[in-house]
């Protein structure tokens, strides 16, 4: 063994010393209290975000009415729909041959986005769907049937047959879950990135950074600070998660009212925590690097603004993209490293496929590695104005291999 190995901490040992100190210091600080209160803050923000989510849900593909009538009557309905479209706000329709399948099966078909199924006849129409949907469409279906019957026909009475759910209602609820999850992810990462930045600025102001820089590699300081804040966030999540679980267990049975994500709650929670960690590590690296370049608090404010705008842009992109899973915009949001965790959380709420998550997690881990290494390298060069002015490319992403000194 090289004698020098006995005389220094490894990168991870040094990072652990920094992380342990930061974790303990932040855990008993006002900043952590603020972070713990974050979900309350989230509640207030979610009112605004809910409006955005509602708008997003509105802009998603609207549910359709399946017309399962004899061919002649179905053609009459199509004509009537064509006449009325533009005159009144009316749902899109889709003809289905009678006997092809049962209304319940139609409503749960993932390939179709059906809100209700029209059966029976024009004179005695029957509307099958969720209670909200059929009550909402009842009047317009009667108008449509009367128009199809002829100019002097009376408005027929529409019989209603309720089902527990439809794919359209499920999708609408899952859109709400996706919006809430993306908003929560955004708020948590925003709070944490701000905390990690202020923590670094405080150390620069206290001149402690000089002691750290003399004792351990700056890469270790970067990694230690980044992971300390991640650990802090897990404490916060654990606190609120426990409270939430206790509320669900001890309180009234409200579970049925929560819109279930497409991948199911256990997997969704696991994916959320994973995507949260990846989203934080990506944006946290950016913010720490920004902090390393700042000499004063004013510099931090100036330099962090573009990073905050980037974060907001990523949030809006993911929120917009989640309304149309599989679209080019959604695929772009899922591939672009900074928006990928947000987009994939939205996807987990709305699509049961798991393979894209495996690919996305691998992709994001690769980018986290690049961001952390790149951030640590820049951090080392900038925070103490260290290193050669024109670095060689081959050293750019090296965590541990340095020319001299560090």
């Amino acid at each position: 063994m090289n004698m020098a190995d006995k005389s220094r901490l490894s990168l991870w040992q040094a990072a652990w010393v920094v992380a342990r100190r930061d974790f303990q210091a932040i855990l008993f600080s006002k900043a952590f209290l603020l972070f713990l209160l974050g979900p309350i803050f989230f509640g207030a923000i979610s009112i605004g975000a809910g409006m955005l989510g509602a708008k997003a849900a509105d802009s998603a593909e609207p549910p359709r009415l399946a017309v399962m009538l004899p061919a002649a009557e179905a053609e009459a309905i199509v004509r009537a729909h064509r006449d009325l479209d533009g005159l009144i706000a009316i749902f899109p329709i889709e003809s289905v041959a009678p006997g092809e399948t049962e209304p319940d099966a139609l409503l749960s078909d993932r390939a179709r986005n059906l809100g209700a199924v029209l059966t029976g006849s024009l004179a005695r129409p029957r509307l099958t769907g969720t209670q909200d949907q059929i009550e909402s469409w009842q009047g317009r279906v009667s108008l449509l049937a009367a128009r199809a019957l002829g100019p002097d026909a009376a408005y027929p009475s529409v019989a209603l047959e309720r089902t527990r759910s439809s794919m359209a209602s499920t999708r609408s609820a899952q859109t709400g879950t996706a919006t809430a999850a993306i908003t929560l992810l955004f708020l948590l990462t925003m709070l944490l990135a701000g905390m990690v930045l202020s923590n670094l600025v405080e150390e620069k102001a206290n001149k402690i950074i000089e002691i750290l820089a003399a004792a351990i590699p700056m890469d270790a300081v970067f990694v230690g600070k980044l992971f300390a804040m991640l650990a802090i966030s897990f404490v916060g999540i654990a606190v609120w998660g426990s409270l939430g679980l206790a509320g669900l267990t001890l309180g009234p049975a409200t579970g049925a009212a929560l819109p279930t994500p497409a991948v199911g709650w256990p997997l969704f929670v696991a994916l959320f925590v994973l995507y949260f960690a990846l989203a934080y590590l990506l944006i946290g690296s950016v913010f720490l690097t920004v902090g390393s370049m700042a000499a004063t608090v004013r510099d931090v404010q100036t330099l962090s603004m573009p990073a905050t705008i980037l974060q907001l842009a990523v949030f809006f992109l993911a929120t917009f993209a989640m309304t149309d899973i599989g679209s080019p915009v959604e695929l772009f949001a899922a591939v672009f490293p900074l928006s990928s965790p947000y987009a994939m959380v939205g996807r987990a709420a709305q699509s049961p496929e798991l393979l894209p998550h495996l690919l996305a997690i691998g992709w994001q881990v690769a980018w986290v590695t690049i961001f952390v290494r790149g951030g640590a390298t820049l951090f080392r060069r900038r925070v103490m104005k260290s290193g050669p002015a024109k670095p060689k490319t081959k050293r750019r992403f090296g965590l541990a291999r340095r020319p001299t000194g560090q």
Binding site: S7, R8, A215, T404
Partner: protein
């Protein structure tokens, strides 16, 4: 390389074999050649060479802005030199031997909410000590230096001098073989300066190499075996204090009642002049080639009003003036005065 086989200093109170050997025979703890550093195009350090023997007390002497701190930071690996090489105990990557080094930066930094023993333990942990051992040693050090009552106090509750002592103890808690102190006397009162001088001597007696920067010549003169005089980013002199003092001839120290008169022609034109509080005039100049008896005769005949006359070996201050120039010496005096005011 040799030093790395020994990771801990000998117990306090015992004088090490290293310390007993003449400094010229000892291996080098620090060796730097041609160090250059620029900041945003400005040359801060311009080709500094330094060689510090193991167990020595080594001073880097120069006014503020001369490049002392930048040099120390390069030696420690906090910043990398743009040019040149540095070796600490034979290693060109100081972080590789971080456990052997203790560093007190010029701008003191401690976490304000940490307790004293925790702060020392944290600094020890950065150098490889366990927190438990760091706390134990921290308490012992605090007790030994009269700060036992402050063990449980937070750093923000301490006076500036106490906080500075805590940081110094944190610098020493892992028992380093090389201690680097950047302006360690700055901000300390006379009593604590004396204590620090004693501590530095004690460290050296145990075989620890101590290198410190200062703009106060007396500290360097009292403590150091060797010094590097640094001015304008260059090192015009690096060597023993004795050699620096011997590099200029012995000085005449003349005290007169009068300032002017025929006798002034006996003094060289560049004789340094001071007026003391009692109104007496002091003159400093090299011993004239004509000899001291001739000088004394001229002074008496010229009615200088001689109060005293002595021949003194040049001090480090005189050597500094001679080596670094009068401007650097004035800057040094101004820094010292500013430090005392602060």
């Amino acid at each position: 390389m040799v030093m790395l086989t020994q990771t801990e200093a000998p117990p306090r109170g015992e004088t090490s074999a290293t310390a007993q050997r003449p400094s010229r025979e000892r291996p080098l703890a620090i060796e730097a050649k041609g160090l250059v550093k620029r900041f945003d195009g400005t040359l801060a350090v311009d080709g500094v060479d330094i060689a510090v023997p193991e167990g020595a007390i080594y001073g880097i002497l120069g006014p503020n802005g001369a490049g002392k701190t930048t040099t120390l930071r390069m030696l420690l690996g906090i910043i990398d030199p743009d040019e040149g090489v540095r070796r600490i105990f034979g290693h060109d990557r100081p972080h590789d031997i971080a456990r052997l080094i203790g560093y007190l930066p010029e701008e003191r930094g401690l976490y304000p909410t940490m307790k004293c023993d925790e702060a020392i333990a944290f600094m020890g942990a950065l150098r490889g000590l366990t927190l438990e051992e760091g706390r134990k040693r921290g308490r012992e050090l605090l007790e030994a230096h009269g700060l036992g009552h402050a063990i449980e106090r937070q750093i923000r509750q301490l006076s500036k001098g106490m906080a500075q002592t805590v940081q110094l103890l944190g610098t020493l808690v892992h028992r380093p073989q090389l201690v680097v102190l950047d302006e360690p006397f700055s901000g300390l009162d006379a009593i604590n300066q004396g204590k620090l001088e004693a501590m530095i001597r004690e460290l050296a007696a145990e075989g620890t190499t101590v290198i410190f920067s200062t703009h106060v010549i007396h500290h360097a003169e009292r403590l150091c075996d060797d010094v590097a005089i640094i001015a304008g980013g260059r090192v015009p002199y690096a060597g023993s204090v004795d050699a620096a003092r011997d590099s200029i001839p012995a000085q005449v120290r003349l005290e007169t009642r009068n300032r002017d008169g025929r006798w002034r022609s006996a003094l060289p034109d560049d004789a340094r002049h001071d007026i003391k509080a009692n109104g007496a005039h002091f003159w400093y100049f090299p011993v004239p080639e004509s000899g001291i008896e001739t000088l004394l005769k001229q002074l008496i005949e010229g009615e200088a009003g001689v109060l005293s006359l002595s021949i003194e070996r040049a001090g480090l201050h005189d050597a500094f003036v001679e080596i670094a120039g009068a401007a650097a010496a004035r800057a040094l005096e101004q820094d010292k005065a500013a430090g005392e005011d602060a």
